[in-house]
């Protein structure tokens, strides 16, 4: 079968004149000597002649013109490529403009809808929630002390000092949860300052200790300075400053060590009394626990509840009265009481 295919291929090539001279001669000899191959050759020759005689069709009329017209159209289109690109750019620009216009219209429509449907009261809230703005804490109370500029205080005329010296008499009452420890500390301070010997009386009762001592003003200041270490052990402290009227005291509640020191450092009686009065008033004012009134309210900035503490202003002019009181005798009573 393979041989027959090969022979057919050779015969076809022979008929088509595609063989070289040697193969051509071999095929010719084969055709002459083999009747079957001869018949096949005749058949192939006839077929080839028939196919060669098949009529050739000509291109339809106007074929060339049609092709050139198409080519011209292609050339025209190619030449207008830049215009096409420009057109495309223009189209894209128009579309973008349209989209932008639509967005603007939508935004305007949104504003109108917002204006119509959202109540005015809720607008700020809504806007804040949209833009995640932190809302300022709402003030639910009026400030107990209005923030007003302190008025110019005219100089208070202070009466001229009396020539007679009124001794410093102070009673310091310390309320504590640990009276023993406080007592021990006071004892140690008295020992360290060398005033233990000047203690005229020490009364120890259940839940209370009382020290009474007479000393110089400097020693007293020294002692009070040292006593500042006792304050952390105390829950409350009260200072009573003696006046010129016997048995009458100016009571300063919730006094601090520094305040005690300041009062006792006063140059003279008048200043001392005035300072004691002022500090007493300040402490009384700050002792009002305003926060208790609002503690039930939630979400309130606690700092805002605190009233402004009154302070002694520098404008309050006082006449500086100088006197040498370093040798002034003082009387100090310290009471330690269990709370």
């Amino acid at each position: 079968m393979k041989d027959m295919e090969l022979i057919e291929e050779l015969l076809n090539s022979y008929i088509d004149g595609e063989l070289d001279e040697r193969k051509n001669n071999e095929v010719k000899r084969l055709i002459d000597n083999d009747k079957q191959i001869r018949r096949l050759f005749d058949s192939l020759s006839r077929y080839k002649k028939l196919m060669g005689a098949v009529a050739s069709d000509k291109a339809p009329e106007g074929f060339c013109e049609s092709v050139t017209k198409h080519l011209e159209r292609h050339i025209l289109l190619a030449d207008t490529g830049e215009y096409h690109r420009a057109g495309k750019r223009h189209l894209v620009l128009r579309r973008l403009t349209t989209v932008a216009a639509v967005l603007v219209l939508l935004a305007m429509l949104g504003i109108v809808v917002f204006d119509i449907f959202v109540p005015k009261a809720d607008r700020q809230k809504l806007v804040n929630s949209v833009f995640e703005r932190k809302e300022k804490p709402q003030v639910l109370y009026e400030k107990p002390f209005a923030e007003v500029k302190p008025a110019e205080i005219e100089a208070i005329p202070v009466p001229a000092p009396k020539t007679t010296t009124i001794p410093l008499v102070v009673k310091l009452t310390l309320m504590t949860d640990s009276p023993v420890e406080t007592d021990w500390l006071i004892g140690k301070v008295l020992t360290n300052t060398g005033l233990f010997d000047k203690t005229t009386a020490v009364e120890r009762n259940t839940g209370s200790v009382k020290y009474v001592l007479n000393c110089s003003s400097d020693s007293l200041l020294n002692l009070l300075g040292e006593l500042s270490f006792v304050w952390p052990k105390c829950t409350d402290a009260t200072l009573e400053v003696g006046t010129e009227q016997a048995g009458k005291y100016i009571t300063v509640n919730s006094v601090t060590a520094q305040q005690v020191l300041d009062i006792c450092k006063a140059d003279n009686y008048t200043q001392r009394v005035r300072m004691a009065n002022d500090i007493a008033m300040i402490n009384a004012a700050t002792a009002v626990d305003v926060s208790k009134q609002y503690v039930a309210k939630d979400n309130i900035d606690y700092d805002l509840l605190m009233p402004n503490k009154p302070v002694l202003t520098a404008t309050e002019k006082t006449e500086q009265l100088k006197s040498d009181n370093t040798l002034e005798q003082t009387n100090l009573t310290i009471m330690v009481i269990r709370k």
Binding site: E5, E8, E9, N12, S13, D16, E18, D42, S43, L44, R46, Y47, K48, K49, L50, M51, G52, A53, V54, A55, S56, D57, K58, A59, P60, F63, C64, S66, V67, T68, H70, L71, E72, H74, I75, L76, D79
Partner: protein
Amino acid sequence: MVKFIQERLKAASGNISIDEASLVAQARAGNMDSVERLILKYQDRIYNTILKLCGNEADAAELAQDAFIRAIQGLKDFKGQSSFYTWLFRIAVNLTLNFCKKNSRVSFQSLQNELDEDAGRQLKDYLVDKKTTDPSELAAKKEVNGLILKALEKLDPQQRAVVVLRDIEQMSYTEIANTLEMEIGTVKSRIARGRKNLREILEAAVQ
């Protein structure tokens, strides 16, 4: 723009060479007259080959036109390694074979009743017997011509292509190999098988 092209055509009309290479060169340079001459030179052969391959006149005209347009537009890519004629035929045959692949219609219809008694007998005598009938006379008969074309349609497209290029277009084996971009051995075997199949189809039709 059309006016400009017409002016270009007129300007180039006095500068034409009949040599294919110079025609191609001028066509590549944009000379529309050379383009027209190239089309006129090959239009019948291209159309005829395509018609024999696809078997439909309208399709053949469209494919031929498409082939010329592609060839002229692709002239800038034509490197001259083969002749323009081979290159043009390659484009045309490839286009047609792709078209046939996409629009393949397998016909199982017998060709036995395609010929009248007289034409059938004459064709049978010619193919089987040794009676010498003039093949050109026979092929000139419209029915016989139609039968041959239908028989060609029944061939495998690749075999059909080599048979048409060889027996109708009278291309050499080398030209066929260049056109279809295949080995000469393949061309030989395909021609042998194609002719054998065609002969069998025709003989069956005249039995």
